[in-house]
Symmetry: C2
Subunit: 625 residues, 2 copies
Amino acid sequence: MPKVTFLPANVTVEIPEDETIIRAAMKAGLHINASCGGAGVCGKCRVFVEGGEVEGEPLPEGGYKACTLYPRSDVIVRIPVESEVDRRALLRPAKKVASAWLEARKAAQVSLDPAIKKLYLELEPPSLENNMPDLARLETALLQKLGENKLEVNWRVLHDLPYKLREKDFAVTSVVLEEKPPKLLGIEAGNTKKRHFALAVDVGTTTICAQLIDLTNGEVLGETSDYNPQISYGEDVISRIEFARKKDGLKILHEKVIECLAKLAKELCEKHKVELEEISHYSIAGNTVMSHFLLFLEPRFLRESPYVPVASRFPFIPAKELGLPGGKHTLLSLAPCVASYVGGDITAGVVATGMAKEAPLTLFIDIGTNGEIVVGNQDFLACAACSAGPAFEGGGIKYGMRATTGAIEAVHIDPVTLEPMILTIGNKKPKGICGSGIISLLANLFIEGIIDQSGKFRRDLESPRIRQGREGWEYVLVWKEESAIGEDIVFTEADIDNLIRAKGAMFSGYQTLLESVGLDITMVERVILAGNFGSFLDLEQAIIIGLLPDLPRENFYFVGNSSLIGARMAALSKEALKEMERVAQMMTHFELSAHPGYMDYYVSALFLPHTNLDLFPTVKELLQK
Amino acid sequence: MPKVTFLPANVTVEIPEDETIIRAAMKAGLHINASCGGAGVCGKCRVFVEGGEVEGEPLPEGGYKACTLYPRSDVIVRIPVESEVDRRALLRPAKKVASAWLEARKAAQVSLDPAIKKLYLELEPPSLENNMPDLARLETALLQKLGENKLEVNWRVLHDLPYKLREKDFAVTSVVLEEKPPKLLGIEAGNTKKRHFALAVDVGTTTICAQLIDLTNGEVLGETSDYNPQISYGEDVISRIEFARKKDGLKILHEKVIECLAKLAKELCEKHKVELEEISHYSIAGNTVMSHFLLFLEPRFLRESPYVPVASRFPFIPAKELGLPGGKHTLLSLAPCVASYVGGDITAGVVATGMAKEAPLTLFIDIGTNGEIVVGNQDFLACAACSAGPAFEGGGIKYGMRATTGAIEAVHIDPVTLEPMILTIGNKKPKGICGSGIISLLANLFIEGIIDQSGKFRRDLESPRIRQGREGWEYVLVWKEESAIGEDIVFTEADIDNLIRAKGAMFSGYQTLLESVGLDITMVERVILAGNFGSFLDLEQAIIIGLLPDLPRENFYFVGNSSLIGARMAALSKEALKEMERVAQMMTHFELSAHPGYMDYYVSALFLPHTNLDLFPTVKELLQK
């Protein structure tokens, strides 16, 4: 990767050849005015190339637009003074992200020992001396191979059994679920052991991600994802539970998620030349509400006190009975849930991290519409759901949006001019702000003293970007001329309030849960961040706003879509399936609102970063500077 | 019941008030000329009433037609000399039938302990302190009640679980299959223990019989039956297997039997005010071919050497998956088969007799299209299928027919005039001859010396009833003027040949099977006759023609539809289900045609009663008279 050295700051970063110089600057922690998100239209981001090869269109007045400039070798770039107004910009710490958990642990290794196996047998063909029934012939040989004395049989196997046996002269591959007793799921003519696949799926409230897994070697052949089509019927789980109460509501939600799963399965199979009948296992993890919709289970009592799921552990279910494509033998498994708002995605996530098998006290955080937290180690696991709300996913934020093209994903504010530097996903004209942009923006506004600890704008700053709008004070992030939506993109005090409540809910959640098990935050040895957030999150910024606890940065890890990883492990390993059961059993769920101290913790957390600054020593130090 | 005394023979029999005097005469072993089958048209059966009350129309020339005369008190009836030509008619032994097996054993008692049970539980309703999932709440209580630690769950139970639990404040009845591990099949609100039913069904090649069973007390609430609608596609199993090879043939045969089962279930439920959802169990027994059709299994290899069934033991199958009416929880079980032509009807039958639990060496005989025989006791069981063909059900007999209205069911031939006395089912003009009529006729022709031991007509008898027809020598049983079909009903030498071959196949079957296990016929301590035949069969006649072995008459029993009885026992008792498995395992199947001595035995049996008369000592004695 080319190295880019910025002058006059003399900071060097490495970036891939397909990233722009403005992104390199953002990465280096340097400010360049940029208000079009990298779309190349505002022209404010002029830089001069002082050495090395670049690709980009020179400006007539000299220099290049940093947002359309690519390095083609190591380069030296000067940021002109009109942009880099003040050395204070350099005070901003370079973006620090959590280490990749799986890489730190050399990946989530599981021994390849799937619960659903293919067994190849060459049977003795029948004769007048030995004319036992087809099934008995197969059963006898299978039981011998398995070292078992009882076999359950999926009766639908019987329909083509005689033909499958005779097709290759009684050489046959059985698909068997290794349980007690083992279950014969299906039968294939000849030796088909080399063709055996599974789909691992994370069914999220917003996104459904699927991986096609080769069960013969554990490889991930491909991955795909799509929005959960239930979104049309409600953005969050609560509104979908409401929709489910309407006539056919539940049926629609059920069918939508099944259709989407079917679509993803077909897409992956087609791309990787796998027959749908070669899929033996849909290994799925999802939150409790998604699990209910998937199985067509009444979700109503999940949201009515005392918040009771229909079930939290689920049997293997024939995929056909759910209308999913596959063979007659194909089974679906769902990661076990813990409570109404701590679901199988969390169980799978905890299994993916391995934290329940190790000694260090670990805090597992999944920041999503509903923040879930787990704390524990090999000896205990405690979990809770925080009603954080969707603010960190852009929900309830005036110009908040999901992380799609045109979303502002990174922001820096010049501390002197208060001009922003913004980057959008896809380098398009900005449409709104997504989660990581929101955190950047909030942290910048706070750390530059534009808003105070309670999230209110300083009324004495003279900048056209800070103004009283119709809904109170606000910061203009993008003028309408430069936005893709024909209006100013602003960030309001009401938005900030929402964010403070959301981060307050998370932080007081950590505190309450830890206190419930007799511990406190300083005892946490590792923090693992799950969800899409983890890899993009600027740790410093997240700590500055009090969303994450102020712990040594090297103890933070991101694990990515741990729900999907857990689902994959469950497809690959009987042991992981069992571990999922064990973890679900082991997890003690705490209802935060039932804790007597929770409300106090919550109220104390409604400050940036917190009422008690001693909880955030590095932020305290920074503020004192 | 009124007593009827016949003069001049001075023989008294009891008959119900709705039976005619001519039937009383047949029962008493007395001959009255009668050629219209009891339809009241030939007018040959004149009798005189000498005492007691009768109902019937007097003939103008005096006396009454015996076939339309009913006793209204004890009566004395004189048979005029022109009918009772010769005292030799009295030589005919009075009809002797086998004792009813179940009555002899005080019924097939099983302890009432069905495999599918209803369990009533009052659960603690959920609260914030105890908000475990609905399923876990139920599961915990159920496992405690069952004394088990693992429960399998029919996932479809989950769909209405929350409502069923809440309908009666968490008082709920579970339907559970008691296996290892137990399986939760269904759930009902409140206490429904008192409403629990099963259907026991014998799926025969010709007839399907069903009983509605109250599982709370073991009572048979009702019984019904219908022709197996597959008959339209082939009278016997072989022709149906052929039909199954046509496009959609198997599907049609499968659907027809399912439709018929559904119809019988609905009919019984309607009549006895039982909801179809209250049926927990279809307990079915049928021969191997019927079992294959019922489950939509390929029957083709049953009839191709080496005669391999797809399966002989069948798992419990959800009734809904077969398209049968019932609840989501309703299961179907099928009695295990032994071989391609010894099916679950025989296994069920053996269980019904209890012969596999007792010491006496027992010969179990089911004479149907395919004769099946089982010999054994508590220590061993051996079985075989005899390809006897359908002659004893009227198949392959020129005027043979099934036992329906108009079928000649009893015959007596006057030894002097050779005039017949016939009775038809329903007292209608005769259409043909059914099984019991065929045996009567054959035995009469033989014992009166009208045919010889090889089944050929004596050529020297002067009677218009014995003649050379287009197909050789024949006996005219009904002249066309008196038949319902407008033609003479005759019994030909070809018919007799078929019958001799059929009874020869049965008898050589007994011999071969017994020899296969180192025994011979004289060692048999009991003979149990299964099927419809048993109760109507005239033992003496069946022995005279060599269909049954010549053993002491008191050792013969008929058990009726033992397949149905076995199916009922399997519904009522877990133990009987297990016994069925044990019996099927225990039964050693012998392929008769593979036995080196079989052909010799068969050829020797192609005589009336047998080439070796010493095997039939009482017949030998009778013939010497």
